[in-house]
Symmetry: C2
Subunit: 788 residues, 2 copies
């Protein structure tokens, strides 16, 4: 079993009960709070010690040059990097003139709780200063889901063993020093102090700082205000400087007597709005926050989350750790997306600087499916963000001599930021992934307005890309050559099965949507001839098959390549890309992450059950899971082919990616897609949920270790409840229209208020597929949880 | 016809008769003098105006960092760049206090002649100063083939229309300012002033500067001395500074009275030798130069070249321009290699900073075949240089988890300097190219000592590379996947035909050489089993063939790719790589340079005549010749398949690559491989010379435009003379052993003193193959040369 002794296994919270400086960076990511607009790492209130201080605003970035020793046509000249903006979390404390710093004095008790239902991070510390005075510090931090520009902290200090003179300094700090943000010295220089002061102001207990980001030119405003509650406390006042502001409160406290301060924070930014406009926006938000008050913010937070969990919760009986992990995952997915509102959902959410804050294909392929079924407004907004980048994607397609749109592989604004084209530009599947997410969103919500607003245009532009990237050969077969699929241990291959099948869905989806919205199609000058060509290409799409081995090669010639020498690959040489050249990886049969197996899932309608079983077994033998995007997909297909215990092992890996820091890089932020993957492994894996061609279908089956799984799905403003054990499943719609689903291929109509209970047929699976030497997933047994 | 009006067509010289500032950079390359050790661009004596000032010492480089926006395993961290070392060419002149500068005053006459038999650059200028005094300046510059450390300049100034006070300042200048050496600002900074002064000294008419190169740490010494001949001239003396030294001579000249100065230059450098050692070396060379004297240097130069031309000359009757060009080419090949002596032969020789002064595979594949047959000592030394880099290549192979040696794609010292791995590291064919050059060298010279000294070890190490890079598949076929062949518009493909066939030759050559030197093989621990495996791999080597189209695909699936849209590619979009992404180029059928066609030449023994004709015709239709290495090879195969007029067109392109600046980059240095290619096109093209398996064979045929072609080849210390017209050919050995050759496949013994005259059989060729739209080679007609 995977051990992570610092956190207690609790169904609705993540609790840390001791402070381990070695795990500080990881905890800062796990305990990050965000609402999709503002993100705050779980840094201590007093700022230090820290691993990576971080406060982020979605889409606030700096431009940095991309250096090339040998440049090539179409290489982007610069990239965007998320920056650490003005830090408003800081509340420094002096006790009898000694700084409250956990590195000194004596720490008696430390506890932090991320409460998944309240949406707050609570902290309790009992500490004796080097001079011997013991104080208790309690704080509760909140980034509001209800009010996107607002965060708040309730801070309380209380001397325990005698009177104390305390000074609280609550700050805003810009250009906070931190560890080097890039290995490239030029980029690091750019990112070191990216903010240029434009204005600072202070009055009473409030302050405002306005900065511009040096090269990107974005304007940021950050403000704070305070409510002080302490009988013998005195507001000394607030001072502001170019890069900081400080409100100082002092109090002479008797033993047991608390000083309470509520700090309200407001953020605003814009690429266009003027300094006065930003100032007004931040000041207004602060006034609103103060008016709402701490309790009001907390109530709204709880209400927002209650609604979310009612739609989205997954209940896992038999494995408390997975139960905790899937809720933790859903919470972070929500935090990354809830109020993103036409801004990207980065791979690390707003929890750290990893991947430069870029969004990738995993947004559409891993995160949006979860949101479509649990928070469809958020997935609609994420697609609206992609749509907003369409003009950039069209320009990029033109630059590449292609038609339609070529969306960026990694980006914040829509401009391509990938500097290694074989794993960036060549990974054209991102365009089909976006189309797939559009199709799903429209199927799940039936939102015709969204179709007209963004759907038709996105599908038409991506379909056009495929028609120009691929071509008919002499036999009339449609081939797409020289592309990179999801697996990054292969590149620039011909007819990648995943890419071709997703392009096929893209083309057919575009055809169907155009038929439903002929007027929008006319706007886009889609001709009958063009429509016919899409259909012809989709029908003639090449899907290579290796007759001899009886499996699908991931791409042409893949199965002709030499096997990787797993036996002689030492365990410390993973992830392989850090120890072997791309050349080695590309020319051999070794798979970083599900690629053909992802096609088995997302395009399951294109394979027979026998093909799935054979393909899965084959790729199991060569997949090393050096990507956090792999285990959840392997879990799904393992479950489908009846390898339920293997599916359960992979579920554990996907669910604990960050809580157990399995990839050793949670320090840079949580893996939002892998966290979404825990939901996917449960719902699409054990629940067997599929939505091919807009038809919801289920094939629920539990591994031995679990007793029951219950989940909810939004479908056309209804909520479908699915709950099953080893014998039977119940499908329930509480109100609204009857819902037609497939249960193991049989049509079932679920009527409101009339739960349908059905038997689960048995399945006989073949032998358990084997993994590469040294890459067998950890065998999962439900943890023996001891009560606290 | 290609026009280059500045140069006169003369059989043994290149003559410039007017000064065109717009062509200055190109002329500096064409008029560069070098001996393989020292290189001096054809800058004007007075230094300015210049385009690219340049003085080079073979292998004197600076290290510069290689930046990567996204780094990968095995990417080199830094690269070497050739630097402009201490300039000793400078002789400044003041006439009545006005600087002699061709940008001012009036230029009446300007002539420069590169004399290919004397090995000197002569210059004559008649100029009137802004103040109205007319002077004639004559200079003759020489970089000695006989004395590798020495160069010299005979300088003469003479007032024409009245008396004049002249001051001559002869200089050494280090860290000479020039145009930016790199687009990367960091690299440019490194290369801006790379020399750090260690010592400077001056006495009488001589001076010495010693510098170290900042990062590479190499130590350079440069010295000058002067002999002054002028009745009323006075040596003012010599002063030295950190980065310069100056000898000043003044003279009051009557009209028609000359001042003559001979300037001797000596260079020395070392990575290890001490400052006193370098100083002594340079001073000794200067003393030797002065003792030999100007006439002695000139006599030795002429003697050296007489011997070279006796072995190497090619006589072309019917096309004076090609006649001139092939001699110009041979002269530059000689200049790049003559005294390189275990240092590389860079792609640009020592004529400019192009490609950072790196050597590539073209050394072995284009330059060494010419040298093996015309100056075999130089090709042996070039292979000794590769051998010296073997330990680095073995370390590189280890880093890449391969066996044997992986030689650098581009380098000065042997360390890999390629920052784009798909066109660098993946181009493993360089290892087979080196093996091919070794095999040819041993065949041509029969030099068993060289075989024992370097041959066995080079062939064994490269053979081992192939055995670890490739593998047997389930059917026992040997495949080599994920490599890049010579064509840089494809990359990372499986079973590149050229690579596989050259690897096959490598393996068989290693087997054969090991059999002849079993003791050396034992030293290298070559087992009987290993030998057998080499043979087994060679026999089972995959050579893909497209049955349907009846041609060899360049690599697996190549002919399945879509055609490039040549019709819609505007002429200004060539070279394609500057206007299209690698992705576009890689996934379509467009060929930058002969790849499969190069295999038809170098491994002609592996194809039938019918296959050659079909393959050639196919690849003609998709080859755009964006590389200077293409036309000569196309010329060879065009001639072989009977397309003699097409071959002649390509010959013109190859031969005039630099004289007509066809690729618009002669400014950075001449294309040594393409210049060698003119010889290849004549000797292996029209002469039909092949040397498969060590057997010299001929199939001579002339295009209509030519009347006769005569060439010489060294073979085992003999010289074979071959001379042919349209009807017959004569083979002649003047002394030594009888030589067995093949004439159109028939065995012929050529006995000393008994020329063999044989008829040339007719050939019927198919229709002339067509080239991509807009890429038809210029039709060549022999120029109408007017006498000067």
């Amino acid at each position: 079993m995977i051990k992570h002794p610092s956190y207690l296994v609790e169904p609705w919270s993540i609790k840390e009960t001791s402070l381990d400086f070695g795990m500080m960076a990881q905890c800062e990511s796990l305990f990050a709070l965000a609402n999709g607009h503002i993100g705050m790492r779980g840094n201590l209130d007093e700022g230090e010690p820290h691993a990576l201080p971080g406060t982020y605003l979605n889409s606030v970035y700096e431009l940095r040059p991309l250096p090339y020793a040998e440049a090539g046509y179409g290489y982007p000249a610069s990239a965007q990097s998320v920056i650490n903006v003005t830090n408003g979390k800081l509340i420094r404390l002096l006790v009898d003139d000694e700084p409250f710093d956990l590195r000194y004095g004596q720490l008696h008790r430390h506890e932090r709780v991320l409460d998944l239902r309240e949406g707050v991070l609570r902290r309790t510390t009992l500490w004796t200063s080097p001079a011997g005075r013991t104080v208790e510090v309690r704080s509760t931090r909140l980034v509001s889901f209800a009010y996107r520009s607002i965060a708040a902290i309730a801070y309380e200090v209380r001397p325990i063993d005698g009177p104390a003179q305390v000074v609280v300094q609550s700050e805003l700090v810009a250009n906070e020093p931190g560890p080097q943000a890039s290995d490239d010295p030029r980029a690091a220089a750019v990112l070191e102090a990216p903010l240029v002061s434009e204005e600072h102001a202070a009055e009473d207990a409030r302050a405002l700082l306005i900065h511009r980001v040096k090269r990107s030119g974005l304007r940021i405003g950050a403000g704070m205000d305070h409510v002080i509650d302490g009988s013998r406390s005195e507001l000394i006042g607030t001072r502001s400087y170019e890069d900081s502001a400080r409100t100082t409160v002092t109090s002479q406290l008797a033993a047991g007597e608390p000083l309470r301060i509520v700090k309200f924070l407001a953020y605003g930014w814009s690429s266009e709005r003027s300094q006065p406009a930003i100032r007004a926006q931040v000041e207004a938000a602060l006034i609103a926050a103060r008016a709402t008050g701490w309790k009001g913010l907390c109530d709204a937070q709880r209400e927002y989350l209650d609604e979310f969990w009612a739609r989205a919760d997954v209940e896992v009986e038999g494995d408390d750790e997975v139960q905790q992990a899937v809720r933790f995952g859903l919470f972070h997915v929500l935090q990354a997306s809830a109020r993103a509102e036409r801004r990207p959902i980065p791979a690390k959410g707003l929890t750290g600087p990893g991947y430069d804050g870029h969004a990738f294909w995993d947004t559409e392929t891993f995160v949006l499916p979860v949101l479509a079924y649990t928070n469809p407004e958020a997935s609609a907004d994420a697609l609206r963000w992609r749509y907003a980048t369409l003009p950039i994607a069209q320009r990029r397609a033109q630059e590449l001599h292609l038609k339609g749109a070529a969306f960026a592989w990694r980006t914040i604004t829509g401009e391509e930021c990938s500097a290694y084209w074989p794993a960036g530009t060549a990974a054209y599947h991102i365009n089909a992934d976006i189309a797939d997410a559009v199709i799903r969103q429209l199927d799940v919500t039936g939102d015709a307005d969204l179709a007209r607003e963004i759907g038709v245009e996105l599908l038409v532009n991506t379909a056009r890309l495929w028609m120009s990237l691929g071509a008919f050969d002499g036999d009339g077969r449609f081939h797409i050559d020289g592309v990179t699929g999801p697996d990054e241990y292969s590149a620039i291959a011909d007819n990648n099965v995943y890419t071709n099948l997703m392009a096929q869905r893209n083309l057919r989806g575009a055809q169907a949507l155009v038929a439903r919205h002929p007027d929008r199609a006319r706007d886009l000058e889609v001709s009958t001839e063009e429509l016919r060509e899409w259909g012809r290409a989709a029908d003639a799409m090449v899907v290579p098959y290796d007759e001899r081995r009886g499996v699908h090669p991931q791409a042409e010639r893949f199965t002709d390549h030499s096997p990787w020498d797993f036996e002689n690959t030492p365990p410390e040489h993973y992830p392989l890309m850090l120890y072997y050249s791309y050349g080695d990886l590309y020319r051999t049969q070794v798979v970083k992450q599900a690629d053909l197996v992802l096609a088995l899932f997302l395009r399951g309608d294109a394979f027979t059950p026998e093909e799935k079983a054979r393909d899965f077994a084959y790729y199991e033998g060569i997949t090393v899971r050096d990507s956090s995007l792999s285990a959840c997909i392997q879990s799904v297909i393992a479950a489908e082919v009846g390898q339920l215990d293997l599916a359960y092992d992979y579920l554990g890996e996907a669910a604990l990616m960050d809580l157990a820091d399995l990839e050793h890089n949670t320090r840079d932020g949580v893996h939002v897609a892998s966290l979404a993957g825990a939901w996917i492994a449960l719902v699409s894996g054990f629940g067997g949920m599929r939505d091919h061609n807009g038809q919801l279908s289920f094939a629920p089956r539990l591994p031995e270790a679990l007793q029951r799984l219950t989940f909810r799905l939004c479908w056309r403003r209804q909520t479908l409840h699915v709950s099953f054990d080893h014998e039977s499943v119940s499908y329930e719609v509480r109100e609204g229209m009857p819902l037609r689903i497939l249960h193991f291929g049989e049509t079932v109509d679920v009527k409101p208020g009339a739960p349908v209970r059905l038997d689960i047929p048995p399945i006989t699976a073949g032998p358990r597929p084997s993994q590469p030497a040294g890459r067998v997933p950890l065998h999962r047994e439900p943890p023996q949880v001891e009560p606290e």
